[in-house]
């Protein structure tokens, strides 16, 4: 292949990829388009572009959902959940990776085991247990439940990442006179920044979008964006235009988080997931 051919080939390839990316996003564009339409317009032709940038749906849904309050709720819940997952997951992943004993191996297996269990098979008993520990009916309690459910993947990823780190890293810290804990906080933790961002992104997506657990644990005392937006998708009637608007509203924050942190996710995934 000559150089010029190669370049032409690359341009064509890029066009193909661009088209593919557009097709990929097409259903999501439709969601956005239709959120600017009235109920009748949605039903008559969902593929048509909106006639105008009608914001009525957005105003309606904003008040119907009580967006600001739910945003704060969901934000707090996500923050509480992700913080615990990152802190506990990184500590355990690090230590289990650095300790080569039978106990350590067993505990690692125990930690990642929940990834193989379908949630439906233990959710009833989980609510029972959560009640016993007074974790239901509160956002904070739900956050704690997320710690244990999110930790398996986090431990798995930190464990893999630490394997790729040289032992000398900690030894140099110890020579400087730092304690074992100090070494972790001051030396290991910063090095893990890429994988930390990955774990943050994955768990933000998950907790922000989770529906079933808030439904079971909050008992209507508190609500989240997902719970509220699902009210528009009733089995016996769907108000499409509101439902789609709610989809846009609830999806914007995680997309924003992704856009901000995506530089790190690339690096994080490289180092984190690879050395399973």
């Amino acid at each position: 292949m000559t150089h010029r051919n190669q370049r032409r080939f690359d341009v064509i390839l890029e066009i193909v990829i661009a088209i593919l990316a557009l097709l990929f996003l097409y259903p999501l564009f439709l969601v956005v388009f239709n959120s600017f339409k009235t109920y009748d317009q949605v039903l008559t032709n969902i593929l048509a572009l909106p006639k105008s940038l009608m914001l009525d749906n957005y105003k309606q849904v904003w008040t119907l959902m009580g967006y600001p309050k739910l945003f704060v709720n969901t934000f707090f819940l996500t923050l509480a959940g992700v913080a615990g997952i990152v802190v506990f997951g990184s500590m355990a992943g690090y230590k289990l990776s650095r300790t080569k004993t039978k106990l350590s191996g067993f505990l690692f297996f125990l930690c990642i085991m929940p990834m193989m269990i379908p949630f439906q098979s233990f959710m009833i008993t989980l609510t029972k247990l959560a009640k016993t520990f007074h974790l239901i009916n509160s956002l904070g309690g739900l956050g704690v439940i997320y710690w244990g459910l999110g930790a398996p993947l986090a431990v798995f990823m930190f464990h893999g990442f630490v394997k790729s780190l040289p032992m000398e890293l900690e030894e140099s810290g110890a020579i400087d006179g730092a304690s074992r804990y100090g070494v972790f906080v001051r030396i290991v933790f910063p090095v893990m920044l890429p994988v930390i961002s990955t774990v943050i992104i994955l768990n933000v997506m998950w907790i922000w979008n989770d529906f079933l657990l808030p439904l079971l644990m909050l008992n209507g005392k508190q609500s989240t964006l997902q719970l509220a937006s699902y009210k528009f998708f009733g089995q016996y009637k769907s108000e499409w235009q509101y439902a789609l608007t709610a989809v846009v509203y609830t999806s914007i924050p995680p997309i924003a988080v992704f856009l901000v942190l995506q530089k790190y996710i690339i690096k994080g995934m490289v180092a984190g997931a690879v050395k399973g």
């Binding site: 439709l30 032709n45 500590m91 379908p118 098979s121 247990l129 997506m205 979008n209 529906f211 999806s251």
Partner: protein
């Protein structure tokens, strides 16, 4: 260096590991073990009468439950296709994404965005596409492919679910492979080129073996997630038409919450978890053995 003090290091091990272990025990392992007790009982999931019946549930499951068998076959077929296709497409996209395209960052985001959106919404959006969207597309193009009943035909519904499943998750696996590719040392590829090893040849002989650690991880995650497929089916077809797209998790869910046979449902999930364990352990053993050091 750190092993001088035995007790110190034990305490340290505990301090680092216990918080996560306790949380995981609390949220997952203990509830799972608790619910396993019910696998030997007859219980409707709410009532106060819980009758111990020994291994009867397991006997019924293994001898006469044709629904569970069908769900198992569906789940295995789905998993096989989803895992293979998702990973092949993801590797392909990842290789393309490492090329110096002008809008590379934008493409990455485009492919990743479906993964960011909640599965319930994804199911809703695609239901909307398959029904309303395809009707309009058919009216505009006249292509009979848009007239097919993508969710209402037992065979097509399988492919629809598979398609949406791949569409939704491929971006995530693409990310894993992109990172894997970035860790393939450039000088190695250069050296290979000098040896006349280029194009597809180079991909299969050099890149792919070095990508093996990523493949181990991506396979593990995609197998576990595909075997547990639930949300997409729940919103897209609810297992229909006529139970044609009932996965094992759907079957367990229906047994527990629709048929009110909670005890039997937990027996099913116990058997299912053992199955997932066996499959994933075999996979990890196998792919690990193929990994090479860079």
């Amino acid at each position: 260096m750190f092993t001088r003090n035995r007790w110190g290091s034990r305490v340290e091990f505990g301090v680092f590991v216990l918080p996560a272990v306790v949380c995981i025990l609390l949220s997952a392992i203990v509830p799972f073990v608790m619910s396993m007790y019910y696998s030997m009982t007859k219980w409707n999931g709410v009532g106060k009468h819980i009758k111990f019946i020994g291994l009867k549930n397991f006997r019924e499951l293994l001898t006469s439950d044709t629904n569970a068998l069908k769900a198992l076959i569906f789940t295995l077929e789905y998993t096989l296709l989803a895992v293979v296709l998702t990973n092949v497409i993801a590797i392909l996209l990842a290789v393309l994404m490492t090329k110096a395209f002008k809008l590379r960052g934008l493409y990455r985001v485009s492919f990743f965005v479906p993964y960011i959106i909640s599965l319930i919404i994804i199911g809703f959006v695609w239901k909307f596409m398959f029904t309303k969207g395809f009707d309009v597309l058919y009216a505009q193009t006249g292509w009979s492919i848009f007239q097919w009943s993508w969710l209402g035909n037992a065979h097509l519904a399988f492919w629809s679910i598979l398609f949406v499943g791949i569409w939704q998750s491929v971006g995530f696996y693409m990310m894993i492979y992109i990172t894997g590719l970035q860790s393939v040392p450039g000088d190695l590829l250069e050296a290979a080129s000098i040896d006349g090893c280029v194009g597809l040849n180079r991909f299969f002989r050099i890149t792919l073996p070095l990508l093996m650690p990523s493949i181990t991880v991506a396979l593990f995650l995609s197998i576990a997630n595909s075997l547990k497929v639930f949300d997409i089916i729940y919103t897209l077809t609810f297992g229909g038409p006529g139970g044609a797209t009932n996965s094992i998790t759907m079957d367990i869910y229906n047994e527990a919450f629709v048929n009110n046979r909670f005890g039997y449902a937990t027996a099913k999930s116990l058997v299912f978890v053992v199955l997932i364990l066996v499959i994933t352990v075999i996979q990890v053993r196998f792919t690990k053995s193929k990994e090479v050091e860079a």
